[in-house]
Symmetry: C2
Subunit: 404 residues, 2 copies
């Protein structure tokens, strides 16, 4: 008789799977360049005005449980942000504050998935979508972002595949990530509109992970699904981690703007899940509220961070272009680069073997593309300053030349 549960096998995180190797190397005195975790706060200090608001909340004694669905101040700040940025008229009940987008994913999947129910995801996906689907007993159904379309969506294929799948299985939701992790692609308005119409036609709830919505560059324009999906049940996932450079606060939110029956029951259920675990970190919520409400300080902080990220990403893409074994779609958002690796020419059996060998030989930690559902790729976090990025990519290029 097995001691651990069957579903617990889904509890994994490919982004962290080499952390133990990296730690061992560090104990042996090797300096590791970590390009695996997408943590802006390591390279861009969390803005002072947010830290000061956090400190204020603590010193004012806001250290007890917060309201389960989120401190009113933060819920109001989220509503104001969405009115300002996207012209939405959200109610307090539409917003639930979560412990990072992770917890929102847990709540969403647990709320919707019965055993065997399908969640349609596009690959490459953010690694953690799949564990949460699996842990809830559901099954992911994978479609492709098309590398040949700059990691865009082939809407006709989506339509065909959904029609076929509908006869075999219950589809509970369809998820897009925009801007995308790991590809950095920003989906266009017309593509999103088609996806919304399709979700509507097939009666599928649409989920849009928009955690990088303010980290957009290289001329791209971001469109929130919320501005297109009126009347269609949909969920927007977002949080403070990336736009507000506050990963360690663990403050995310799930927004369900609709008034239809499905949306109404889903938002109530997500609030129920919030009540189960009583509260998210309380003082951090006040900090994030100030992060959003202080528009002047935020504009300064985000502009400067995005400008810097754009430069670093483009710098890294250029260096990667010198590597004949890699092929890279230029990102327009987030801060990842997701090159295709010519593993055959490099004589590696898998991307896993490649990133492990590269870590052990060159002390740079990347993440294997198969962790995102796209074998034969690698994800490079392009947040470090140019000097560090240059060191890491130079090692990567030399490593490839050596192995070929």
């Amino acid at each position: 008789m097995a001691y651990l549960s069957k579903l617990s096998r889904y509890a994994t995180n490919p982004i962290e799977e080499d952390d133990a190797i990296a730690e061992r190397l560090e104990h042996r005195g090797k300096g590791i360049i970590r390009l695996n975790k997408g943590d802006p706060a390591v390279y861009f200090p969390t803005p002072d005005y947010i830290k000061r608001a956090y400190v204020r909340a603590i010193m004012q004694g806001k250290t007890g449980y917060a309201r389960p669905g989120g401190a009113r101040e933060l819920v109001d700040a989220v509503i104001a942000r969405y009115r300002r940025m996207y012209g939405l008229g959200l109610d307090g009940d539409d917003v639930v504050v979560t412990q990072g987008v992770s917890e929102a994913l847990y709540m969403l999947n647990s709320a919707l998935l019965d055993p065997g129910d399908r969640a349609i995801l596009f690959k490459p996906y953010y690694t953690q979508y799949v564990p949460y689907v699996g842990l809830a007993g559901g099954r992911e159904y994978l479609l492709d972002y098309k590398e040949s379309l700059g990691w865009g969506i082939d809407v006709d294929e989506l339509d065909r595949r959904v029609r076929k799948l509908k006869h075999k299985a219950r589809i509970k939701y369809l998820m897009v990530t925009n801007p995308n992790n790991p590809t950095g692609t920003v989906l266009g308005r017309s593509t999103l509109k088609s996806v919304v119409e399709l979700a509507n036609e097939h009666g599928i709830t649409l989920v849009s992970d928009e955690i990088y919505d303010e980290i957009v560059y290289n001329g791209a324009k971001f469109t929130s699904v919320a501005t297109l999906a009126k009347g269609v049940p949909h969920v927007i996932l977002n949080g403070a981690s990336k736009d507000f450079d506050a990963t360690g606060f663990r403050i995310g939110f799930a927004i369900v703007p609709g008034d239809d029956a499905k949306s109404a029951s889903l938002k109530r259920k997500i609030a129920d899940f919030a009540s189960v675990r009583v509260s998210a970190n309380a003082p951090a919520q006040y900090a994030v509220a100030e992060g959003m409400n202080n528009r002047k300080e935020h504009a300064k902080a985000i502009r400067s961070m995005v400008r810097e990220i754009e430069e670093r990403v483009n710098f890294a893409v250029k260096l990667l272009g010198e590597n004949q074994y890699l092929e890279t779609v230029r990102p327009q958002g987030a801060f990842y680069i997701f090159p295709k690796v010519d593993l055959k020419a490099l004589k590696f059996k898998s991307d896993k073997e490649f990133v492990d060998a590269f870590l052990k030989s060159e002390y740079v930690q990347l993440t294997r593309g198969s962790g995102f559902g796209s074998p034969g790729h690698i994800r490079i976090v392009s947040l470090p300053p140019k000097g560090e990025l240059e060191a890491a990519i130079t090692r990567l290029n030399e490593f490839c030349n050596k192995e070929a």
Copy 2:
């Protein structure tokens, strides 16, 4: 076709179920005395030295993701605390930092329970044990803490019931809460020893929720299961919320001290679950580490809080003694009182009806005993200062006299 998942019906929290009624009354200008949530930070400000450590961590920029299983500083502080207080020799791998004990419960249940697997709980139980068992697909098997034994355990009955249950179902764990929420009972060393032996004999993992381990009074003595269970797979749940008066930090931990095969696979799996959600709140972890490491400040804070809690609880119990419709076992730990209510004499059909009517008529929010698995009782949080407790209990006593 149902939109929400079947298991999502378990997402409830009886402690908060009347919050909406209370909020409505407040909007109508009624002042509510809330004796439903066990939040010490509302009445005892989180100690200054802990708040200052929290502020330091923020200003030092510890605002990025922490290590998934917990910042090393906090893991080391937990190890030192358990060495000091209970003579344990824990390793770093034995401790996983969680987002409150809630998340530890989620991880534990998800790691162990397949559909239909049993978790043995004693009632009255902390309300949230059951949702986490149900959400993981498991089933609780309920035994009684015996009110006639001061809410103690009848070990012979436990033995009999486990023998019977073993033939019908897979028992994955047996959980005790010590000191108990909602009864305030502190289990004796010899009872715990018998429970440990029984778990060992039947090969059942023992879980001990010891979140109130320093909040013990009225002459009781606390024994950690960890000091008795060497060689028996066991899990200790604890955190910063109660002993360190820091509920809103959301810092808990799961400790799996054993080296046997079950313990080894369980602690690895809990760490896997931690990696799934990347990180708990980072700066709060440094604050809790200081909370534990600064023994002098902690001793001062906990002594003064426990002395005050003891007085308030005893004061409330005495006032409740004037009510002929209530019968109360005097607590020795935590800060709850759990009287039996003579609903029949009071002509209420259920404890739910009773607490709702009391809230609406007297503006005091309690929690129904059925939420803890023990209908016909009410839970009273005895944290407020005596004046507030007196006002609330006087209203309760008058309400009962009026209704009888």
